[in-house]
Symmetry: C2
Subunit: 401 residues, 2 copies
Amino acid sequence: MKAIDGWITAPGGFTAAGVKAGIKASGKEDVALIVSENLASCGAVFTQNIMAAAPVLFSRRVAAGGYARAIAVNAGCANASTGERGLNEARAMAGLTAELLSCGQQEVFVCSTGVIGPFLPMDKIVRGLKDAYRELSVAGGGKAAAAIQTTDTFIKRAAYEFTLEGRTAVIAGIAKGAGMIHPDMATMLAFITTDAAVSPAVLSRAVKKAADLSFNMVVVDGDTSTNDSLIALANGFCGNSLIDSENHPGYASFFAALTAVSVDLAKLIARDGEGATKFLEVTVDGAPDFAAAKAVAMAVAKSPLVKTAFFGCDPNWGRIICAVGYAGVNFAPEDLTVALNGVEVFARGGGVAADAEKLGAIMKERDIILKLALGAGQTSATVWTCDLSYDYIKINADYHT
Amino acid sequence: MKAIDGWITAPGGFTAAGVKAGIKASGKEDVALIVSENLASCGAVFTQNIMAAAPVLFSRRVAAGGYARAIAVNAGCANASTGERGLNEARAMAGLTAELLSCGQQEVFVCSTGVIGPFLPMDKIVRGLKDAYRELSVAGGGKAAAAIQTTDTFIKRAAYEFTLEGRTAVIAGIAKGAGMIHPDMATMLAFITTDAAVSPAVLSRAVKKAADLSFNMVVVDGDTSTNDSLIALANGFCGNSLIDSENHPGYASFFAALTAVSVDLAKLIARDGEGATKFLEVTVDGAPDFAAAKAVAMAVAKSPLVKTAFFGCDPNWGRIICAVGYAGVNFAPEDLTVALNGVEVFARGGGVAADAEKLGAIMKERDIILKLALGAGQTSATVWTCDLSYDYIKINADYHT
């Protein structure tokens, strides 16, 4: 497996486009199409939010079908809390795309991201989808990545080559936003394409598993949006024999590449959290099981007190061990250890006298690895997050509906 | 039941004191004693944090005994993450107090609040406890309330008179801090005294029940500290027949008064949340049960996006319904309604066109009542919180260990 410099169109048989349809106030690209030449296997994970937006309700049924040709996306309006009309308009987005591609309406995923509440500007959406269809190309991957952004400060993409039966397969992904990182932005979206041949059932399970190791390990503010969608398409252009079981000889390398793309995108999302000045990787070792390890890592990564301490460059282990203590996981306080970029700050039930100068330098770094060991088992989990700064408040308080 | 203007010494048979022992850098009162003339029934609730501080470990055993004479408190140092030495020093605080009062060491509660990590300055503690003992008086309630504060911006107290068998009973309480509302402050403490005669078993159950309706319904930043303690003493000076069962004719009015004091203190804690510019009461109606109602109210009250919207005076229902949707409670989106100070902003699955001017005026108010109805049952729950402002970040990021 090797990281490559490529867009979502890097895998064979995929084209994409991103166009300016006038939905975003900024006038930037806001409608994207991602298309497979043939009917691809699909796998997807959607928000668990009960207020799930219309495009999520529609796309869940596409995912259930197991096969898809395309993903139609708009940014600038989430089509959330829009009732029956919203559902009809999501269906219309799929219908128009299906007409353009001469495929079935149930073979087109629909995603929207943006403000919750308003109805879609359907005239702009229709024009945008038609324009995007005309511009579909392998070179269009970059503009598609731009079109799904809202207030992301940089484009999030990842691509890998891996070997399947001696052939070179490619997997690539793009993403935007973390949780509800932007005011009212019903976010996150992530799309992954691969030219590996994978059956819908295997792809579906693999995507859920990869999401649990990546997107589900990111926390910015703990808000789970109404539109979160992760969609993967596998079109088989690579020519490998169909990976139709986890026991297939190609499964392991496929899953490793899928997880690598997912983790890369997830980390980029944490790094671009609203107002972030620091990227934090929180690893918990020595937990009795994954759920426990994740619960502790999440408690620490979500704690506003921990996050503001990192913003303030303060190696404040008191806040960290406090969050560990309320995570609902059993361990012996005297077995807990805490280290910041390799420097131990807590052990044997109390603080460790650390080199203050060294610790001060670590706290000024952009990337900080916080390692916790519970001494209560053999399992680990890693969560990615960012610090909590004035800018988070500014971005979220100054914004008005 | 009638609210009265009184300190924790308002119930008969209680004295208190607060003295300056030099533990707080500010030089303000930092050691308090609250004493009952006789051995009182006790009931208590402590933090569930696994990293529970030494005074919590000690006081849990006092509570288990059912009876206590006194509460010895210091602010400025939490005696948390201090291991065996910390436990010995908590025991020493109780031992000295017991010696002064000529009672058993297991009849003295010990509470500490302040920075996590350092050991107690025992010379100052000893001097402080001796000074406090000398100054014990009915008039000392005010100074005791001052001594338990750390960065609270105002003193939190409540007192009520209620009738028991024709006699006037009094119940009073003081509190400090909410969750870990202050940097490293291992907080909250709440003490309640009453001259009603209540058995330890009934008092213990009543305190847990009252806490579930009050202190456990407050959220500032979601951090549960290492030192949280709620302790109630009932000394029987009122002369009523012992309330030794929930079926006792006096139980209902006692429990109502206990709950009233607890709710008053809990609300004051939310109102004094770090950086708070607004007090928010979140009520969820129409839930299938209390746990569900509380889960929804807590999801909304904890959401950084909701809290920053209130700071920004933005009637942003999108963020509210999003938090409702991820609370893990089942309901039909079209049945959900949301109202701000009585003005409906969301119903029938979408936004409600509200009077923008009226809504703008409501959002500028200091106190806002957010009412949610799920239409999924008959049960309600109310949670209290505050908004999330620049000052929260300032207080927590600028502070250094």
